[in-house]
């Protein structure tokens, strides 16, 4: 059993590490944490229990928030007296399908339309299959139009609600 800064009296469990990681918000979408986002894949203790390796995977190849998330993880766990190592893996590739319904509800409450399930339409660039209906996070109308596939961050697209006349962002299906 690994031990933290309080010495032998407070063994740190894997669950406790996961709970600490759940306190770190996504720097660009602070309504959800990095575990809910799906970027933390595994937590592995070193054999002597003095260190922990956090396995992470990036959302988009060039996501600038990735570095911030890595630094936040290091800071959070170092404060517990642990040696922290971050390992980046690319396979399996991050997908929005890993988000739970609860996480999606948090996104909606924050004003971001949650990602629809991955479909064929998302997998072929010239597909003519109609996009899944996008719901306005403010008035729940599906009478919405795509403004741009690219939004304020790599993971979002811009939409407009034709019912309540509000622009809104969709967390892109990925």
């Amino acid at each position: 059993m690994p031990f933290g800064k309080m010495g032998a009296s407070t063994p740190i469990t894997t669950d406790a590490i996961w709970n600490l990681l759940k306190q770190i918000p996504d720097p660009e979408v602070p309504a959800i944490n990095i575990v809910e986002l799906g970027v933390v894949r595994d937590v592995i203790f070193s054999e002597d229990g003095s260190g922990v390796e956090v396995v992470m995977t990036p959302t988009y190849s060039g996501c600038p928030a990735m570095k911030v998330m890595e630094d936040d993880v290091k800071e959070k766990l170092s404060a517990e007296g642990l040696e922290v190592k971050i390992k980046i893996i690319y396979k399996p590739a991050w997908t929005t399908d890993w988000m739970s319904e609860e996480t999606k509800a948090k996104l909606k409450a924050y004003g971001i339309s949650p990602p629809p399930k991955l479909t064929f339409e998302h997998l072929h660039p010239l597909s003519t299959v109609k996009n899944a209906e996008v719901m306005c996070p403010f008035c729940d109308s599906i009478n919405t139009t795509l403004t741009s596939q690219f939004g304020s961050t790599a993971c979002k697209a811009l939409h407009f609600c034709d019912s309540c006349h509000q622009p809104f962002e969709l967390f892109k299906c990925h």
């Binding site: 600038p64 660039p125 403004t147």
Partner: protein, 253 residues
């Protein structure tokens, strides 16, 4: 050819192509025709920079000389860059930019889709992510090409001119040499000649929708970017891109 040497060169070719196109896309930042497109082009540039970082880091590791991804990106000269010449062509106007992204993007999409099954796990992983991104890029560019081609007389002329002038860089997208042959044998690289038919199909489909005529075969075709022979535009691009780290080699960010 030794597998590791081939693999290094293979990764640098992919990374250089992504990085140079990223630099071109980011040149639009603050100059886009409308705000949404300005943001879109920087977004795509960012995806491409991310893709190049992954492949540069892997190349640096394979090389084993202690260089970093930044060393490879910023401290090589024009003749050492192994990108396809198509991506170094200037932005010119929005029609050129979209046509360049489309012609390159279709191949990148097909290439990454094949590399997802590469026997090299790092390449397979990096490709899986890049594939999803290229799907969005191709969709975006193809929609604009249809809109411009089937739009006004002016937009049609502009996108037609872009197609005519960029077409000479399309055969080069499929160029291969012993680097590819070595890695194809070991199941790591993808045989680009096998992607030609599907690339043609994708291009023909979009051009038909855009009411554009595909340029006739047999015209002049540029060659050799992937071995360091470039058009006059790359040197100027590099002098801007590499200025800061060359002027201040100890700068960190």
């Amino acid at each position: 050819m030794e597998t590791n040497i081939a693999l290094y060169k293979y990764c640098v070719r992919i990374a250089d192509t992504s990085l140079i196109l990223a630099q071109r896309m980011c040149e639009w930042c603050g100059h886009g025709p409308v705000l949404e497109e300005d943001i879109a082009m920087s977004n795509m540039g960012l995806d491409l920079i991310g893709q190049s970082r992954g492949f540069y880091s892997y190349a640096a590791k394979l090389e084993g000389k202690g260089r970093t991804e930044d060393d490879i990106a910023y401290f090589r000269n024009e003749r050492e860059f192994l990108n396809r010449c198509l991506v170094e062509q200037p932005n010119t106007d929005f029609a050129y930019t979209m046509m360049r992204s489309f012609l390159h993007g279709c191949l990148a999409y097909l290439q990454f889709r094949t590399l997802v099954k590469s026997k090299d796990e790092t390449i397979a992983g990096l490709s899986e992510k890049a594939l999803k991104e290229m799907t969005y890029h191709v969709r975006h560019a193809s929609e604009w090409i249809v809109r411009m081609g089937d739009g006004t007389d002016v937009s049609h002329e502009k996108v037609k001119e872009a197609l005519g002038n960029l077409w000479q860089f399309t055969d080069e997208l499929f160029e291969m040499d012993e680097v590819d042959q070595t890695l194809i044998k070991s199941g790591i690289a993808c045989d680009l000649s096998l992607l030609r038919a599907e690339w043609d199909q994708m291009v023909n489909e979009v051009l038909a929708k855009a009411k554009l005529e595909r340029p006739a075969a047999g015209g002049y075709q540029s060659k050799g970017g992937f071995n360091g022979t470039h058009t006059e535009h790359l040197g100027h691009l590099l002098s801007e891109m590499q200025y800061l780290p060359r002027a201040y080699p100890d700068a960190i960010w």
